[in-house]
């Protein structure tokens, strides 16, 4: 049976972000830093085992620039 799901994705507000880099330290599996120290977020669904870490990265951003968004996932 096809189930419509919501998946979690990370998104950076590039205006708010000031390159503190905590997110990349907390979640290197999904976030890398560019040569200027700004996060490059993998355009991937946050896998279940990383969701808690992702939430922590969102919470710990000093600029409140990281967002965890629910987006419609694939039908499976």
């Amino acid at each position: 049976m096809a189930i419509r799901t919501l998946t979690l994705r990370l998104r950076v507000d590039p205006i708010a972000c000031d390159a503190f880099g905590y997110c990349a330290e907390l979640l290197p599996e999904l976030i890398a830093l560019d040569e200027w120290g700004y996060p490059v977020v993998a355009d991937l669904e946050v896998p279940p085992h990383l969701v808690d870490l992702a939430r922590r990265a969102v919470r710990d951003c000093p600029r409140r620039a990281l967002h965890l968004e629910k987006v419609p996932g694939r039908t499976r």
């Binding site: 590039p14 205006i15 972000c17």
Partner: protein, 466 residues
Amino acid sequence: MIGLAAGGPPRPGAPGGPSGSVPATTAVVDDAPRTDAAPTRLLRAWYRTGRADLAAHESVHGTLPLPGRHDHGWPGRLVELVHSSGLAGRGGAGFPSARKLDAARVARPGPILAVNAMEGEPASAKDQVLLAHAPHLVLDGAQLVAAAVGASGIVLCMAHERLPGSLGVQAALDERRAAHVDARAVEIVGPPGRYISGEESALVSWLGGGFARPTFRASKATPLTIRRRPVLVHNAETLAHVALIARHGVPWFRAVGPPDSPGTCLVTVSGTVRLPGVQEIALGTPIASVIGDADPVAEVQAVLVGGYGGTWVPAGLLPTPFAPASLRAIGADTGAGVLVALPRAACGLVETARLATYLAAEGAGQCGPCLHGLPAIAADLTSLAHGYGDGDVLARLQHRMGAVDGRGACRHPDGAVRLVRSALRVFADDVTRHAAGHPCPGRAHSPVLAPAGHAGREEHRWRYGP
């Protein structure tokens, strides 16, 4: 610099128009007034009469077809008309105009209509020319759209620096007030005229009392608002087309241009041409013939299409029709209707490096990848163009473009990257020669694209201008 001042006739032949006759009154617009086949729709009253006043406008286009007081079906019919016409926005993004109207119609409270004539693109003059020569067509379109969506007010946004030139528009508004043409008042406002201050979210931010800088939206579907009131932003030329569609209907509008992007559009031609300025063309006209109409004075090696954040198109591809689908197929798009002809004797890399430097400085300075990345890209390209780049410069440039593309709150960095990527592709032979340190005779050529200096980034400048 664009040769055409906003006060002069857009093409030789006016006033009086090539036909030489001033019709007493007609609301029917045919499409063959000039000696060549190019259609004149937007600038028709100007070509016919040499005047831009209300009487000239109404003698050629007829009166404004506003709905009767109890005609409740009219808003839906107008939106349906725009939908069937296939009109796409003429400001640069090319978004289907009817989709914006659909969203605005159901918005509560009623939206503010912002007429975008900011024209921050330095190589474009079309909106200034349109407002100077056919202000009533733009204002008609604004009234129609405002009535269709139940707008609470209309603001006409022109760059602060150009407000002295808005006297013609002000006079047009005075004429309309005296003649009781309009159902809604129009206010002219002047945000700082920076490269990106006409970007939709920047404009709305300024109108709401903030800075004329782009803002971050959770998704593109999130409506732009001022204190919860939605703002509908339409380019000035788009509204002028709406004014014509409302009068003449869909078959008339679609009689010109390809089925998937019908109608005419204004283009601003500059560079190595004898007749720089604004032309009205049928969408789908080959780039080569538009450049040909402007009379090139030297062999053209490439044309910058769209704007500063646009795409270089090499001489071999100039037969490409100027229309969204055809341009997309060669990696370009219509943008703001800019065409700049680069002479063979100039150096495309040096020209592009100058533009990249300008674009880097004209960012809002808000997003890290753009703030740091664009100056780095401009510096890499400048060192490459002038033959003092190290061995890694090309690889570094490519890497940095990948690191910047798509990572801003607005599309500014994407435009800069698109420009530089197209330069590396189109001027590939030059890249090889410059990277090897060979001298380039084009370096000494006088600048074809010479953007003016930019103002600083201090916050007050984004509110009040330089």
